[in-house]
Structures are given as C-alpha cells and as structure tokens.
Amino acid sequence: MLEIKNLHARIAESGTEIIRGLNLTVKAGEVAAIMGPNGSGKSTLSYILAGRDDYEVTEGDILYNGESILEMDPAERAAKGLFLAFQYPMEIPGVATMEFLKVAMNSQRKARGEEPLKVPDFIKRVKEAAGTLEMDFNMLKRPVNVGFSGGEKKRAEILQMKLLEPKLCVLDETDSGLDIDALKIVSDGVNALRSPDRAIIVITHYQRLLDHIVPDTVHVLYKGQVIKSGDKSLALELEENGYAGIIEEAA
C-alpha cells in the first residue's frame, strides 16, 4: 500500500536535510510501528506523508497504491485516503468542530464523486463515534480543539479518523499526553479500525502504546533512515536496552 523509496527530504527554508535515504514498505492490513530517538525524523516523515510544504523532497519517491503522491497537495492526499493524526492538533478559533467535521467529510465524499451526507445521517455518525471514544458530544459544538485538554485533542483526532475512514492512517505520537485510561480508549479506537484493506503506521517513542496497539512490524528510524526492521519483539528489545546497541550495530 505504501512504498517509500530512497527518500531524501530537507526543511525548505533552511535546507537542513532530515530524511536521508529512507526505505519503508507497509502492506494493506499491516500495523507498522516507527520508533526512534528524538530528532531521528519521525515527525518529519509524518508531515512529509501528509504533504506539508515546509519540507522539500529532493530525491526518491513515495508511492501510495503504486501512485506517486509527491505532487499532490494535502487535501488531495486526504481525499485518497491518507490520514495523519497530529502530535499537536491545531486549535482553530471560530471554526465549530461540527462544521469542520461536516465540511471535511463532504469534501472527501465530493472528491470521490459521492453525494454529501444528509444532516441527520451526519449527526448520527458523529454521535456514535464520539460515544465509543467516550467524548462529550457538547464538546463538539466548541471551535476545533479550542479549550480541549491534551487528551481530548488526541481523542478528537481519533474521532476524525473514525469518521473519515482513511485507508492509510499515520499516528504521530498519539500516546503523548494521554493518561492510562485515555490511552486504552484511544487504542481501542485505533484497533477497531484495523482491517485487511487498511494500513496503520504508529509513530511512537515508547513501547507502552504498542502494548495496546500490537504492531506487525517495527522499524527503527535514526538520522533519517530505517536502520533496523523486525517484528514486535524489536520494540521490547528497545524498551529493555535502549537505542544505543542498535545504533552501534548499524554504524
């Protein structure tokens, strides 16, 4: 489903290279964890996948279902089924959450040639999704993420993911800022989305999220490259011994 080939990318403004020859393949149905120390390029990778124009791809390609997405803007990528759950979701004053959800869902439907949702159907879907994430429906009358706690913002990201039903989900440090109860609710929400035609990339610092969202593959990112790949036991090994050993081994 996703094939990243020899990707090189830099910060557009400063020219600093962050991703340096990254290769990664994620198949449909797979849950892939990307781990790595601070500054290894994890969040940058998520932004590049989503199409943020602060970064410039200088070499290589990103294929999504066999098609290069490098020339697509973020909205086109989203309409094709790519979703990034932000590490730091934006607060957008003045835009009511419900309005935002409706516009987002209908924009994607329109891009796929589908009819816009009828209002009662839309509200029903939002209520159901909010219910499973134990979110207060009244919260969604507020502007997008404004006044939400860190945990509420993360739940709101998963809510959007459930409603938009993407095919490739990228979760950037979704566990940060969550207490243990919220972590469980959010993880359950993600696990409910696991399906044979959907891939999920979980970017995380810690093993703890992977106890709840058990990955099929684990990839270690260091200095903009995947230096080691393995199964879930690799995450446990990292938890035990840290990154030093693997970094040395790769060097």
Partner: protein
C-alpha cells in the same frame, strides 16, 4: 499676503460649494438652521481635510474625493427587506423620508419637519474644524428621522432606519433618544444602487439604565462615497453595543464618537470591515470616558483583498476624574493580497491614574498551520481559506449571541464572500 486664498479648490470642493448655492432655496430650515448651514459651508470653503490634518492622516479626503455628483431628484431607489425579521421599517429613499409607522412607546418624526420649525437647529453642531462629515451634512441635510423612545419602553421589534440611495447626493440625519431604562435594537442600513455621495449623521442619546444594540450595516455599491458619523452619549449604567459592518463603497469614512458621561456606563464596539477591489474604508473612533467607573471594549476585524485600503483609528480619552475606567481595544487584520493595505492607529490619552486600559493591533496572513490542518482533512485549499477567513470574522459576530441577529449578519458575510472570494 494671505496664503490660504491662494489654495486652489479641487473640482469636488468647487462642486460642493456651487451645489450649496443652487440648493439653498430648496433646503428646509428656519433662520437658526440656515445660520448653521452657512457656518458649515464656510468650513468647507476653507478646504476639505488633507493628510496633514491629524484625524484624516490616512484618509486624505481632499485628494480621495475626486468628484461629487449633482443632486438627482429623478434617481429611483427602492426599499429593501429589513435585515432582522419583524423589524419596524423606516426608510429614506433618495434622501426623502416616508410616513412613519406606529410603535408603542416610540415617537417618530420626519426630520425635515424638525428642520422647518427649527427645533433641530441646536443639534447641528460640528466637533471641530476637522469635522468635514459633520459640516457637509449640516450644510445639506434635508431629511431623516427623529426617534424618541420613552422612558422604560421595552421595544420588542427592532427598528430599522434604512437609507437607500440611487445616485446623486443624499444627506440625512438619524437622531435617536432612548429614555431611562428603555431597551431597543436599532439597525442603521446604508445601501443603494447608485454612484452617490451620501452623508449620514446618527445621534444617540442613551438615558440612565437604557440598553441599546445598534447595528450599522453599510454595503453601498463600489462606486459610492459614504461619509458617516455615529455620535452617542451614555447615561448612568447605560449599555450600548455598536456593531459596524462595512461591506461596500468606494470611499467610506465611518466616524464613531462616543462619550460615556454617566457612571457605570458600558460601551462595546464590534466591527467587521470587508475590503475588496480598490475601495478605501476608514473607521475612526473617538471615545471619551468622562466620569469614573465606566468601561469599554472595542474589537475590529478586517479582511483586505485586492488593492483595497483600510484604516482604523481608535482614540480613547480617559478624563482626569474618570478613575476606575476599564478600556480594551483590539484591531486585527487579515491581509489576503500583496496589494492591499491596512493602517491602524490606536491612541490612549489617559489623565486618570487608577485605570485599566490596553490596546493591541495585528496584521497577519492566514495561519499556515491552520490551513495545513484543514487541508490534511481533505478540505481543498480554496474552501479551507474561506473557512478560516469566515471564522476570523464570525468570532466577532457570534459575540452578539442572539441568533436572530447573528444569522442575518453571517448571511451578509457569506454573500460578500460569494461575490469577492
């Protein structure tokens, strides 16, 4: 040698002075009114204000007022549906008032009658030699409405004062007295279809404990010149919320002159300026906190597209005795084009020592992080920008809370976007 005499009149100045000579016999008013008119035209003869006059620094009226249309008695303007449902509508069509409706607790008079009998003469005053709007209006004002809301009246239905032009010149006045403890919503609608020159002066006298929401909605065609003044005095514990929306006009000056003269008075100004094309829109406020324990907040939001130029000047005078004044002013602008311009000048003149006053001004583009977030959810760039700009403005409108007011204003916002996005 007299230097002033050598200043050459602009075509607009000459046209105004000539028009006065021609119109004089048609203008209503007794001797007292005529004296005021003469004084006013003398003020204009001294020259329209230029950028060298402090209060007109960003709106060089002498240069910007390129021409003045002749009066056009045949211009056919039509009234439009009131902004708020169920309003009592008082229209002024091409400068002429109509029969007044009957509303309990409210007396309406045609201003032309009050000029003829001279009872309105004492109110024809300018605030100084730089009061070009007041002078122009005093010289030519022919009609309008005088509204008197009696003490304690709770006027349920909004009152809409609708000033419609279809070209030529229109000069009107809208004096409103709101009695003690009375409550009302007043809509001042300034619109039309022609390339007219409009001057309009509103005067609000707000009694003790009275409460008024006053909406000024200006959406003149992009060929019209609109020069307006809103003056208000607030009694004890009186509350005034003034909402100003500018969504049209070629050259627009909206002055807001408010005096809090009763303790406990509260003034709120909320403004939305939508600027497109090559319009020039200036909102200039002078607010006096003249007694202790009064409060005010001003929030003005502007969107600038095309080659439009906008101005907000906000002056707050806190008098020496006005202790415990609480005044906050903010002016935020979204600049959406490289050729647009916005000038903002906050001024605080504080003579009291125990006050809380603040002001802030920002000029920004659309936040790229917000744009990315919306686009990452599949919302195309154009829609995402539209959503963010509307949100920026809707925040000010939604503060009015009352759905019956918020919705029509948001509709105006949407139609402006449909026409100018």
């Amino acid at each position: 040698m007299n230097m002033r005499a050598e200043i050459q009149r602009t075509p607009a100045e000459a046209a105004i002075i000539d028009a006065f000579g021609e119109r004089l016999s048609l203008l209503p008013g007794d001797g007292a009114v005529m004296v005021k008119r003469d004084d006013a035209i003398e003020q204009i003869k001294a020259g329209l204000p230029t950028r060298r006059v402090e209060s007109w620094h960003y709106t060089d009226l002498r240069r910007l007022l390129a021409s003045v249309p002749a009066f056009d008695a045949s211009a056919a303007a039509k009234t439009i549906a009131p902004l708020l449902e169920g309003s009592s509508l008082l229209s002024i069509v091409n400068g002429v008032s109509a029969a007044t409706p009957s509303v309990e607790g409210v007396t309406f008079q045609r201003l032309g009658d009050k000029l003829v009998d001279g009872s309105y003469a004492p109110a024809l005053v300018t605030y100084g030699s730089d009061d070009a709007v007041g002078a122009l209006n005093t010289a030519f004002v022919a009609d309008g409405y005088f509204v008197d809301i009696e003490d304690g009246a709770q006027v349920e239905k909004p009152i809409e004062l609708q000033n419609i032009q279809a070209g030529g010149q229109v000069h009107v006045r809208l004096p409103v007295r709101v009695g003690a403890g009375a409550k009302a919503t007043i809509v001042e609608r300034q619109t039309g279809e022609g390339a007219g020159l409009v001057s309009s002066v509103s005067q609000l006298l707000l009694g003790d404990d009275a409460e008024v929401l006053w909406l000024i909605v200006q959406d003149q065609p992009e060929t019209a010149t609109h020069l307006a003044q809103f003056k208000a005095e607030l009694g004890k514990n009186a509350k005034l919320t003034l909402f100003v929306m500018n969504a049209g006009g070629k050259l627009v000056r909206q002055e807001v002159i408010v005096k809090a003269t009763g303790e406990g008075a509260d003034f709120k100004l909320r403004g939305v300026n939508l600027l497109a094309g090559d319009c020039h829109v200036d909102v200039t406020m002078v607010l006096d906190h003249a007694v202790p324990h009064t409060s005010s907040t001003e929030v003005v939001r502007n969107v600038v597209t095309g080659r439009a130029k906008g101005v907000f000047q906000g002056r707050i005078n806190v008098h020496q005795i006005a202790q415990k004044t609480d005044a906050r002013m903010a002016c935020n602008t979204l600049l959406l084009s490289d050729d647009g311009e916005f000038s903002t000048k906050p001024e605080l003149e504080i003579f009291a020592d125990d006050v809380a006053c603040g002001h802030g001004a920002t000029v920004t583009e659309i936040d790229r992080n917000h744009l990315f977030y919306l686009m990452a959810r599949g919302i195309d760039e154009k829609s995402a920008r539209g959503l963010l700009v509307r949100a920026f403005l809707a925040e000010v409108i939604e503060e009015l809370e009352d759905e019956t007011v918020v919705e029509p204003l948001e509709e105006l916002l949407n139609s402006w976007f449909a026409a100018h996005a």
